[in-house]
């Protein structure tokens, strides 16, 4: 019996359950139709432009300034979220306090609140006459219509990625290792930085990387607070929209392509770094 089965190559492991052909076929067809074919037009269009034209519009001074701003503010926001996201996750997992359930639910607000709503709300807060802005303005701190404002919006958008990534790992972390560490004479700081922190670092990394990736492409929450000055506060996604509005499809395509390639490269590098680290630790 086994010899008959082994003679014939089977792509999938046999199963008594029905419906593989239908569900797999439909999923693949729908995936191709909605995601793969439309995305491939971006590559097709870029390839059709020729190197010279692609480099010229994809790396114009204005585009370079936009990449710097988008990637810079996304990195800054990811860093802020790594610190405060970890703090929020820690407090939610480890401590008990009144209203904890509501606070835990509120963390997901940026996932549920439409980005345009977040954008105008943050602008209303941080504009020089806004609730927060009126106190910062006399101190010479400008938030709205500067890179700081963009970072504030990206902190809002990215926070739940870090919290939701760290939370389950922190909850699963056994108390026994911490107790062992304490028994061996470590103080609480040493235990945190030598025992707990290394264990949650990969999750923290993943969360921050997701927040970063989201921040680079973010549009709705940023364009209201950013001021949109070409070369100064113009993020890369906005530059794509501007190009489209001027019917400069080549420009829009080239910038979109460069943005996507940089994002993928950064995410790939972060992943590689993380798996190299994991290998070194032998985990």
């Amino acid at each position: 019996m086994t010899s008959i089965a082994s003679r014939k190559y089977r792509w999938r492991t046999p199963s008594v359950l029905p419906g593989f052909g239908l569900t797999f076929g439909f999923s693949l067809a729908w995936l191709s139709l909605i995601v793969l074919i439309p995305l491939s037009t971006l590559f097709l269009k870029s390839a059709g432009m020729g190197w010279h034209a692609f480099l010229e519009v994809g790396f114009s001074p204005r585009a370079l300034a936009a990449y710097r701003l988008s990637f810079g503010t996304a990195a800054a926001a990811a860093l802020v979220n790594a610190v405060f996201g970890l703090l929020v996750a820690w407090v939610l997992v480890r401590y008990r306090f009144p209203g904890k359930g509501v606070v835990g639910a509120l963390v997901d607000l940026p996932f549920a609140l439409p980005t345009a709503v977040a954008g105008i709300a943050l602008t209303a807060l941080y504009a020089p006459s806004g609730w927060v802005g009126q106190y910062l303005d006399p101190l010479g701190i400008k938030v709205a219509f500067t890179a700081t404002g963009i970072t504030v919006a990206l902190v809002f958008i990215g926070l739940p990625f870090v919290v939701r990534s760290v939370e389950p790992v922190l909850a699963d972390l056994g108390k026994d290792v911490e107790e062992a560490s304490a028994t061996l004479g470590a103080n609480r700081f040493q235990t945190f930085f030598r025992v707990i922190f290394p264990a949650i670092l990969p999750a923290l990394f993943t969360g921050a990387a997701m927040a970063f990736a989201r921040g680079v492409g973010e549009y709705g929450s940023v364009i209201f607070i950013s001021g949109n000055m070409p070369g100064k506060t113009e993020i890369a996604p906005l530059l794509i929209v501007t190009q489209l509005e001027q019917y400069a499809y080549d420009g829009a395509t080239a910038i979109a392509m460069v943005m996507m390639l940089i994002s993928f490269a950064v995410l790939f590098a972060l992943n590689a770094l993380q798996s190299a680290r994991r290998r070194r630790l032998g985990a």
């Binding site: 593989f20 405060f84 703090l87 929020v88 439409p114 980005t115 345009a116 105008i120 107790e179």
Partner: protein, 279 residues
Amino acid sequence: MTQRSVGTESRATQIVLILLALAFLAFFLLLPLIAVFSEALKQGIAPFLDAVSNPDALAAIRLTLFIAAISVPLNLVFGITASWAITKFSFPGKNLLLTLIDLPLSVSPVVSGLIFVLLFGAQGLLGPWLAAHGLKIIFAVPGIVLATVFITFPFVARELIPLMMEQGKDDEEAAVSLGANGWQTFWHVTLPNIRWGLLYGVLLCNARAMGEFGAVSVVSGHIRGETNTMPLHVEILYNEYDFVGAFAVASLLAALALVTLVLKTVLEWRFDLHSGARH
């Protein structure tokens, strides 16, 4: 848990950390939320009601509901079929398939809109053919639907796949060996097992479908009363300095977000759907 052990901070440290975390959340999450409602009602209830019952606003609300009513069921069907194929069978290339399903999450919303313009726009690949046949996708409702489906593509599948993976296929195999056909197995065995997870996915999918801005903004053309969704209407009013109007429409979207959060939390508590990193 209540007993203080060696592995716990002093209560003073705890309180400081809790207050720090709460201050951060209040500042970055709660304050913007309050600002939306407060700005909407700044000049009292009458201007708010005027703004919300304005014909353009009503058209935007109708369009947003219509877009969600099409795109959410499409992704629901895809989510179920994809999870069935992925979790009930083993085949090579499964990880690649999972990565491809997640792809829309790592594409900027603006780029998500752009690809449909490149495909169906007047100068796009299929533009001339569409024009010759009198079909309009870009700057029309079909384009908005396509962009929304793209953006929300992974939402239902991502909730179902881990859940169905965890549940395994023993129940289904038992049903089939007792003579149930595929549809009966799904309807009577699988669906009752996954319904809350499914609802959870639909909830998140719907919130994003109604709130999507970047992708929809690129393909919509912003025609008032025709291709203007609620988030786009917020932008138009805001750019016209009609702040009360903008925040009034925005407050409806914020209320939708709050309802989503409440339902989501209830589902997590009642049905023990773990809220891990799922986005």
